[in-house]
């Protein structure tokens, strides 16, 4: 009871201390903080838009890459893979989640970024260069790199939850589809995917929540530059990275509280996202198992 209370108390304390420390910036900049893009410690003008943009774009990019792949993995593991492959393969994929973020960043700098700069980015710009997304200099580090690293990091989350959701689909659904003469893929599409749509959405949004809060790996590969640029090759900045880079050295009071306010925004953003994900997963688990508690 006491310990349970302490968990709630700590959470409340966390919110309270974050908000009070962010208060000077909130009072000074108001809503402008969210919609202006100047980040100027010299003149003490702060706007968080480039960071919010960077966080959203890098996470969206991560989802764009991770969702199809994760679903493919989940379908393969739950429906298609031979029995003896399932356990080892899912273990390997979950190992991806166990690699520390700082090691991802390290690998990103020395493995992924040079590869992207010399192979992938020239290729993209040659064949898709007419799109503003793939124009500009090849830095290696930048929004694209951050998106790819993030996608690798969230694939285990999305695929393992989706797999659970697929496995929870009652087998009579599948049998019904097969009996009607559906091919294997049609069974998966109609019976399995259709049945578990909500749960998969939950998994995706949970992955999004993880991508948004990710700090170290992104900081090491995104280029750390507060600008809004259409090109995915350009460097960017995320909310979590700006805190990691500048928090220990923010001298002025306003500078510090602006960074804390970014922390508050990040907190509420992940809060909303996780809330939605939990709701969706809860809904699907209720649907599958009936009411288990509460």
């Amino acid at each position: 009871m006491l310990t349970a209370l302490s968990v709630t108390a700590l959470t409340l304390l966390l919110i309270y201390s974050m908000v009070t420390n962010a208060l000077p910036a909130i009072q000074k900049f108001g809503w402008h903080f969210l919609f202006t893009s100047t980040w100027d410690p010299v003149k003490e003008i702060f706007g968080a838009l480039p960071f919010i943009y960077g966080t959203l774009v890098s996470s969206a990019l991560a989802l764009l890459i991770a969702v199809p792949i994760s679903l493919g993995i989940a379908i393969y593991l739950a429906e298609l893979a031979p029995q003896f492959i399932r356990q080892p393969l899912s273990f390997l994929i979950e190992l991806l989640a166990a690699i520390p973020s700082v090691v991802y960043g390290f690998w990103g700098i020395f493995g992924l970024a040079p590869f992207l700069r010399t192979a992938v980015q020239p290729f993209l710009s040659k064949y898709l260069g007419f799109l503003p997304l793939f124009q500009g200099q090849f830095f290696g580090v930048g929004m694209l790199t951050a998106g790819i690293i993030l996608s690798i990091m969230i694939i285990p989350t999305i695929s393992s939850i989706s797999r659970e959701v697929f496995l929870a689909v009652p087998s009579n659904q599948r049998e019904a589809a097969t009996a009607l003469g559906a091919t294997r893929w049609e069974t998966i599409r109609l019976a399995v995917l259709g049945y578990s749509k909500t749960g998969v959405w939950g998994a995706v949004i949970l992955g999004l929540g993880r991508a948004i809060g990710e700090t170290m790996a992104v900081t090491m590969v995104i280029g750390n530059r507060p600008q809004i640029s259409v090109s995915l090759f350009a460097p960017g900045y995320t909310m979590a990275s700006v805190i990691a880079n500048e928090f220990t050295e923010a001298t002025g009071k306003l500078y510090l509280s602006s960074l804390v306010e970014i922390g508050v925004i990040l907190f509420f953003l992940t809060l909303i996202i996780n809330g939605i994900a939990r709701f969706l997963i809860w809904k699907v688990s209720n649907k599958a198992k009936g009411r288990i508690r509460e």
Binding site: P41, I109, P114, V141, P226, N245, E246, T248, E249, T251
Partner: protein, 341 residues
Amino acid sequence: MKKFFLGLILTTLALSLTAGPTLANKLLLINGAGGTFPYPLYSKWFYEYAKIEPVNFNYQAIGSGAGIKQITERTVDFGASDAALTDKQMKQAPGLLHIPMTAGAVVISYNLPQVTQRLKFTPDVLADIYLGKITKWNDPRISRINPGANLPNEGILVAHRSDGSGTTNIFTSYLSSVSPEWKKKVGFSTSVNWPVGLGGKGNQGVSGIIKQAEGGMGYIELAYAITNNLPYADLQNKAGNFITPTIETTTEAINGALSHMPDDFRVSCVNPGGANAYPISGVTWILVYKNQPNHVIGEELVKFLRWAITDGQKYSVDLLYAPLPESMVKKIEQRIDEINY
């Protein structure tokens, strides 16, 4: 199972809590944090000093801005910065002393494998690159001052610091002193609103970007450029001469600033007058409180500071820092004597 597990945790804990102090012979630990600019020299100093005195200095190179902030909050025993505190910052940290430790040059380093000669920059070209007005290596304004250089038709990948940094302060002070436009648009500080470029954390981070990307260029401390085998450029000084950054040309710049050295040592050495002075130089300070809260730590700090500005100076040259001029050392010793502990 439970007992095994609990035992494992307790053993690890007991082991780690006791092993640390035993291995360290219960030496005094003094914590400091600050600039990455003097980090190679400081880590050498602390390494050598630990051999002759029973005290360990833990220095974390997290940026000059962080050094100022953390000593103001008194979360460390000493701070280190290559940027002097502003008057506003001094108010928040009353009684904080600036002790000059060494001097160094900030060099313009680049990664152009096909260019064999040392590049030259004029102040206005440098400012315009950082303002985003010159974006290609083969821009006529660059090739005009570098005849014969095989400059590629590639974009300039400008790198700067992403954290608060004294190196940035020195560099942006310099740009502000040579370019009115820079002064008006950007200004100078430990971190500024950069018009272009990629951010790297620390001198290490910026050298990392330059080293890993062809066409990269950035401002780093001389020692970082040399230890990484990165080429660096000659820069035109106030007298109109193109100067290669070396220890001698840096010392000349510091000597040029001695005449207007204020009592609290908060001096800026950028763009001095001497004929052979390298224009982007600066001193770096250790920040300590005049009234030390802890007697033992205060005593050891003072002892170390004295050693560093006298005996310690001999390590500077090897690591490419400019030793402090003799006349300055005398003044600094007087200031160290004022520390109470």
